[in-house]
Symmetry: C4
Subunit: 209 residues, 4 copies
């Protein structure tokens, strides 16, 4: 009886999806705040303005990377929630933890971009991605265990989702390990994997992933 509240709490998939879209939307746009127009005093010709814009380009790239990472996990979370019949209190908290990691992504991406030659920065970046993967996997496992998935979700779908997360995380971990050789190789590999997940079906690159 005393635990009754826990049984009725947090059951709405719609609310979970809505707060997720809100947090993702804020996280996705957070790094736009770092793009500032150049100071007008410093610009006296078309050439100078062009060079000033080029100087902003690295930040734009970091923003793009952060958007890419968040996009991948947004699609992943959406796919999971689409297959759930309802939520419960524990699933809500697993997804809140996931959203916490989502909101850290712009920070860890910036850190990695700013200190691209440092292993520590790359490991922090990878730890963020790993955390996102673990929480997505954990929430899906929990949902299956707690019978929150829709009745028509077959074993094939259940396994496809798990295999996807494990496959992607293995590649990310391999990429991160490349930092033992060189952080640029590590980042390059991780970026390649991410681009593959975003574009693969269209360009037919690495189709077996």
């Amino acid at each position: 009886m005393l635990n009754y509240y826990n049984r009725i709490a947090g059951q709405s998939i719609e609310r979970l999806a809505a707060i997720s879209d809100g947090v993702f939307a804020v996280a996705m746009t957070l790094l736009v705040l770092d793009l500032h127009t150049p100071a007008a005093e410093a610009i006296h010709s078309e050439g100078e303005l062009w060079r000033a814009i080029l100087a902003i380009a690295p930040r734009l790239l970091v923003y793009l990377m952060s958007f890419l990472t968040l996009g991948i996990f947004w699609v992943g979370q959406q796919t999971q929630l689409n297959h759930l019949e309802r939520s419960d209190r524990d699933l809500s908290w697993l997804h809140l933890a996931f959203l916490f990691s989502v909101s850290l992504t712009p920070f860890s991406t910036s850190l990695m971009a700013e200190f691209i030659a440092y292993r520590v920065a790359l490991v922090v970046y990878w730890a963020n991605i790993l955390l996102l993967g673990i929480l997505l996997y954990a929430s899906w496992s929990y949902a299956i265990r707690a019978q929150l998935v829709k009745a028509d979700v077959t074993q094939v779908v259940q396994q496809a989702f798990k295999r996807r997360v494990i496959g992607a995380q293995s590649l990310y971990a391999f990429g991160a390990a490349l930092c033992l050789i060189n952080t640029y190789w590590a980042l390059g590999f991780i970026l390649l994997v991410q681009l593959n997940y975003a574009l693969a079906p269209r360009i037919g690159f690495l189709p077996k992933l």
Copy 2:
């Protein structure tokens, strides 16, 4: 007749849920803005970068605490709204007041973290949590009185919700009172209660709460 507008205003639970998710999403991500990458000039080795990241850790912890508090009240509000058939003007305003308190949470959490040895800061932090609890309780009481709850919501559910709020607030108040001895004890106790509400059913800790 002249009061007719008031009778037809603010009836949508969906809109109330949507504005709530928006305000929660912004409030939940507000403290991420405090996480800045270290200045590149000051970093010359892996060790220095690592120490610079550790120096950010306290802010990350504050952010985590703020997220935790907001998560608890997000689950609480969602549970309430899930059991309502419709809203009305007064309920909308009670929830708007609740959202106002929600948006203050990152501020009061930061204040408490920055001045952890000061009783004033702890009392402000607790006052914020108390306000959230009062408004959640008041809106639920009002909803029952104004017959806005769904037909299938039993007395048991009605009481479970109220008991939960009162139980949690009693513990928070006891925790806050500990600041007469020591603010660290007070904060530690409050944090423990919050972690219990977020994790309890999974780890079976303090199951009777």
Copy 3:
């Protein structure tokens, strides 16, 4: 034929409600960014912290006022949208203009609070509220004319909504005119009217409004 796009554009009430909730949520939380924790160096005792918090109080009050104004118009817009069957391109643009004014509210409220003794600031503040009222009235009139309202919306409802906007705006205009005597009286009157709209049915104050 060439105008065909305009006939099929912007028909979703749900999307209109969602973008509105997003803009309102951001606007409602914008002034929280102005609340900063006091500098730790300047605080050496409970008394000093208490005075530092009191020094923030005026900003909190401005935030509350901005939240109040936005809450009133959020309830107003929601009430309107609840009575619409569908939207169209023109209605979408009227509401986008409304949302533009919504996003200006934190600025005009801050301006008025900062320069409370200046008529110019009060007139800008009032102009913002007037614009919100005009756009809410215009979109409702348009919706009736374009037959976008639900079939069961009677003449009584149609008139109640219009009368509400006109009644409120008349009071705001009267309040603004008081600045010819004194800006404090003007602001006080406007605040009283706003509090009435937020609280009236509960405290029975000025029931005839």
Copy 4:
């Protein structure tokens, strides 16, 4: 089998609409952050405050332009999504790319406004609008090809949408080309086209667009 995840990923139109509304809401309000109240020390009379407010006016205008552009593309995207039966992974990514461009709009608009006499700034601004148009067109073409559109969407609707995008982009491109003569003419023309798209049906101006 291994590609199974891609077949079940990203199918929710509702989630796509929700993340879009979130990103649009943040992007639409981003430039409000540039409106600061004048410093109180510098103001000693009604006249000075009035001039200080007028000094902010250009920023308000830039904000209005950014809001206008975003509004046009918000209506366009909504119209597209309204006609879709469901989404898939590729469509989600096309729209995520669209949202990335959406979030850049406040920046490119500011840049153009700050350096209004420079062709580089105008070209960047136009490139942003072009990118938005290309992605909206590409996602619609893809949706038709992948049979994601609703069954009742006729060829007429399909063509109307495409023609609209191409028509608008041709006018924007012509406007941008005017910068060979003069950037003011170019911007003026683009603004005129945008105002036409926002207001046209009401004022009957350029009805054939």
